[in-house]
């Protein structure tokens, strides 16, 4: 019938065409789904764009959604470069927020210019240390980091829930189990009505870009990702590189937590992340782990999230439509990945070699 064979690497130009095609197909499929749900797909798409960038207010809201997404994606990128499948961005995010809370509640008398940097430093540390657990387990006992990072997400969320109901519960909330608010000095400053998280995120993009591209550590991370054996033969201290890179990965996810806690919520809650730690895995993957590309991909996804919200209120379309579209895009782009490496040809007679590759 048909057989799947590996194809020689494609030229950069054709890869690009293929990827564009994937997005076009994804949008087509999404529109078909929207039509099946009984809505006018063109109107939904148009309203989604209007709802996300149609006014200054909406752009601001889109950026508010983009900032944590971009930061989290950067965090997981560093780990993915090393083929360390960190899907614990969510947990590192919450532990980062926890670190910020530790500082905010214990040193609330500090002036803002000392308190905020201290909160960020603590968030980087707690987020990084949280990511270090699966890294150490992997280095020592070769546990699957995919599983451990995933499971630690739920531990982190439960930890925040515990704090909310226990030690950090707000006694002034009339019985409502809500966490105390940060002191006002812990509010992230605003420029033009929007918190400065976007500056932090863009700064991190530049840092990670140079780290991966031009630094020794970045080179080591890339080599380890390509082939850990090669790294060892080259005399690299793979254990140390793993730990440092994962500290950076978790630390950046922690920063995202601090930004959300100080910029929007002014406190911590178990729904602080809105699940963006998982969306970040998709955006990191779609941008091929390129920090600069990540900016546009994150913005696009933030548009879908904000546009989805808008759809719910204006067209009474469930905001989950945005989630469906995201999933469809990922499906098609991963599908196109497959066709960049393999091709399907008609099988005329049984061939030995094809079976080997086709497995």
């Amino acid at each position: 019938m048909f057989k799947i064979i590996k194809r020689p690497p494609l030229a950069e130009g054709r890869m690009f065409v293929l990827r564009i095609l994937a997005v076009v197909f994804a949008i087509g499929a999404s529109m078909a789904i929207i039509a099946l749900l009984g809505h006018d797909p063109f109107k939904v798409m148009l309203e989604m764009i209007r709802g996300s960038v149609g006014s200054a207010y909406r752009i601001k809201e889109t950026i508010n959604k983009m900032v944590p997404l971009l930061t989290l994606s950067l965090g997981v990128c560093v780990a993915y470069k090393m083929k360390f499948w960190n899907i614990g961005a969510e947990g590192q995010f919450y532990m980062g927020a926890y670190g910020a809370g530790l500082v905010a509640f214990n040193f609330s008398h500090l002036p803002s210019y000392l308190l905020l940097p201290a909160m960020f430093a603590a968030g980087i540390l707690t987020g990084g240390l949280w990511a270090l657990i699966p890294a150490l387990l992997k280095a020592k006992w070769e546990t699957s980091e995919t599983l451990v990072t995933l499971m630690l997400n739920y531990v982190a969320i439960r930890w925040v829930t515990y704090l909310q109901y226990g030690p950090w519960r707000d006694p002034k909330a009339a019985g409502l189990p809500r966490m105390m608010h940060f002191p006002e000095t812990a509010d992230l400053p605003k420029i033009g009505g929007i918190h400065i998280g976007w500056i932090i995120a863009l700064f991190l993009v530049i840092v990670i870009y140079f780290l991966i591209r031009y630094s020794k550590l970045g080179y080591e991370i890339t080599v380890m990702g390509e082939n850990p054996r090669t790294a060892e033969y080259a005399g690299m201290n793979t254990f140390r590189i793993l730990l440092v890179a994962i500290m950076i990965s978790g630390g950046i996810c922690g920063i995202a937590g601090v930004i959300q806690a100080t910029g929007l919520e002014h406190s911590i809650s178990p729904v602080l992340s809105s699940g963006l730690g998982f969306t970040a895995i998709i955006t990191a993957w779609l941008s091929k782990l390129q920090p600069v590309t990540l900016v546009s991909v994150s913005f696009l996804f933030a548009m879908m999230l904000q546009g989805g919200n808008y759809l719910q209120s204006v067209m009474k379309v469930p905001s989950d439509v945005a989630g469906v579209i995201q999933g469809v895009i990922l499906f098609f782009v991963l599908g196109s990945e497959f066709f960049t490496q393999y091709k399907i040809v008609r099988d005329k007679r049984q061939g030995e070699e094809t079976r080997k590759v086709g497995a």
Binding site: S55, P171, L176, G192, E265, S269, S274, T293, V295, K316
Partner: protein, 388 residues
Amino acid sequence: MQKKGLAALLCLVMMMSVFTLAGCGSTAGSTATQAPATETAQAPAAGIPKDKIKVGFIYIGSAHDGGYSQAHDRGRQDMMETLGLTEDQVIVMEDVPEGADCEKAARDMIDNGCNVIYANSFGHGEWLANVAKEFPEVKFGHATGITTYDLPNYSNYMGRIYEARYLSGIAAGMKTKAGKIGYVAAMPIAEVVRGIDAFTLGVRSVNPAATVEVIWMNTWYDPALEKTTATTLLNNGCDVIAQHCDTTSPQVAAEEKGAFAVGYNSSTLDAAPKAYLTAPLFHWGKFYTADVQSAIDGTWKSQRYWEGLSAGVVALDDLSANCAEGTAEKVEAAKAKIMDGSLVIFSGPIKDNEGNEKVKAGEALSDAELESLQWFVEGVIGSVPTSN
């Protein structure tokens, strides 16, 4: 290369849009000052013309949760029908958590032209107030709230549901054979404590030896947890389940175990036809209709609306065939007395469940005391967790 160019371009567009935001802040401000200015030009208390009214509803749960948010949504529909508003004059946001998301939902609604906004959960309050401070021309209503933050454009509204709960307690007290009733409770705030107390007083008015066992869930809306909590109570020997949470799960749990249940918020006989006795109900439409009408008339002002059975904003659902014989008579008698004021539910003597006399004979709890109630009456098994 192309891709990077695109990325850089997008980046640039983004940054530009950010800088334009400074401009946005001032335009929003100018429209904000314009609206009252035109009002004063016409008449001091000019309302919003009916075709200009746009109402936003922020729900903690789904509008089809078969409970709390659905009751609000029914109220919204009543209001729209009575006042003749069109579909585009209303925005509904469901599943909005009690956090910054609530603030965002309210801002989104204003962005889409809403001039009256309601949020239906206790924890929405402070977030709604943040937005209310910024938009003095928009009117806000916070269901179940206990403070208006001294804002002239911010109301609280609530029904004296405890009156209906007292009546539902009579139905439960008549039905229980084991003398043990379970109560699936959301969060230990005064409103819930008050409901449990009134319910228990109702139970013991017909069945003086019966107890009400309370388990806290610390959430308003969690269908799975609501069910397992009810099951725990049933396994502890309770044969009637009452609830202060948002879905029909406790009633379903009771039905599966062959026990009985008192619902909440909405008439849900269909969810558990063999278990459902009755339910204390909200008719939020009474409030919504009057409140939006007052915004149209220009008579809207900040208030702390708290009405009961006599105003029709709360009621007891029709008693189902599952109720014990004689329930209807007892319920009707109590209802008549509550409506004419001869039965005051929280009137003494009332003891707490540690044996201390809390309300002396001849006295009654004031509204302020009811709003900060933090103790259980005699007959409740359980305790109110202190906040610290």
